[in-house]
């Protein structure tokens, strides 16, 4: 009975260190969503116009690819930094 009464008193010493870790900031550019692909004007018969839109879409894809790669790079870097805190 005495031990049962003493236990809660002893356990109050088990506290975690009150330290707050903030979630790391992300570069603002990475928070912009990728736009939709551009569509060719219906009724277009010229191949040059189609190629122009397709080329633009390729460029758009490459930008989004860079963004995705950068997110992965950012995550890996931040993970290493976070794991080194402990």
């Amino acid at each position: 009975m005495r031990i049962a009464l003493l236990l809660p008193l002893l356990l109050v010493g088990c506290m975690t260190v009150p330290v707050i870790e903030k979630f790391p900031e992300v570069p603002a550019e990475l928070l912009v969503a990728c736009p939709n692909l551009k569509l060719v004007e219906p009724g277009t018969t010229k191949l040059s116009q189609v190629i122009s839109v397709v080329a633009e879409n390729y460029g758009q894809y490459q930008e989004c690819q860079i963004k995705a790669d950068t997110w992965i790079e950012w995550y890996n870097h931040q993970k290493v930094i976070f794991n080194n805190i402990k």
């Binding site: 010493g13 506290m15 330290v19 569509l39 018969t45 040059s48 080329a55 860079i66 950012w74 930094i81």
Partner: protein, 150 residues
């Protein structure tokens, strides 16, 4: 709650006070035989002894709490310093990543501009022997339509 209360009291009262209380309790207990010779304390001989034991134990406990709290505060300081260093490193990394990203996108845009200019230059050659069927445009646009978006 109890730990918080102890820590709060410890942070206000200096260590020497607890040491003095513990010593006073010990000395009081040691001399309780003499103290209880005082006529009005004589009937409370045992109570006086218990009182001094409690004072001594309480003082000793708080001395220990003071030490533990100091270690704890030191750990908090160290943890905060580690976090501050990590945050600084994180910001530095962000600057490098951001710069790399901007440079890479800039290169893509520059190349895109060159390609668009080349397409304009080659328009006559491209369009000379080719007429696109409307179905081809429909198929192409269908492929480019966004899907699976939230």
């Amino acid at each position: 709650m109890f730990a918080w209360l102890v820590e709060h009291i410890v942070s206000i009262v200096p260590f020497w006070v607890w040491l003095t209380i513990a010593c006073a309790g010990g000395i009081g207990y040691f001399f309780s035989g003499i103290i209880t010779l005082i006529p009005f304390l004589m009937p409370y001989k045992e109570l006086v002894k218990i009182f001094f034991i409690v004072v001594c134990l309480g003082g000793t406990f708080m001395c220990g709490s003071d030490g533990v709290t100091s270690i704890w505060q030191e750990q908090i300081k160290e943890a905060n310093a580690r976090i501050a260093a990590a945050e600084a490193k994180s910001k530095e990394t962000n600057i490098v990543i951001q710069k790399e990203y901007v440079d890479r996108v800039k290169t893509v845009k520059e190349v895109q501009l060159q390609i668009q200019e080349k397409i304009i230059t080659d328009t006559q050659i491209i369009d000379a022997e080719c007429k696109i069927a409307p179905e081809a445009i429909e198929d192409l646009n269908a492929a480019a339509m966004p899907r699976g978006k939230k």
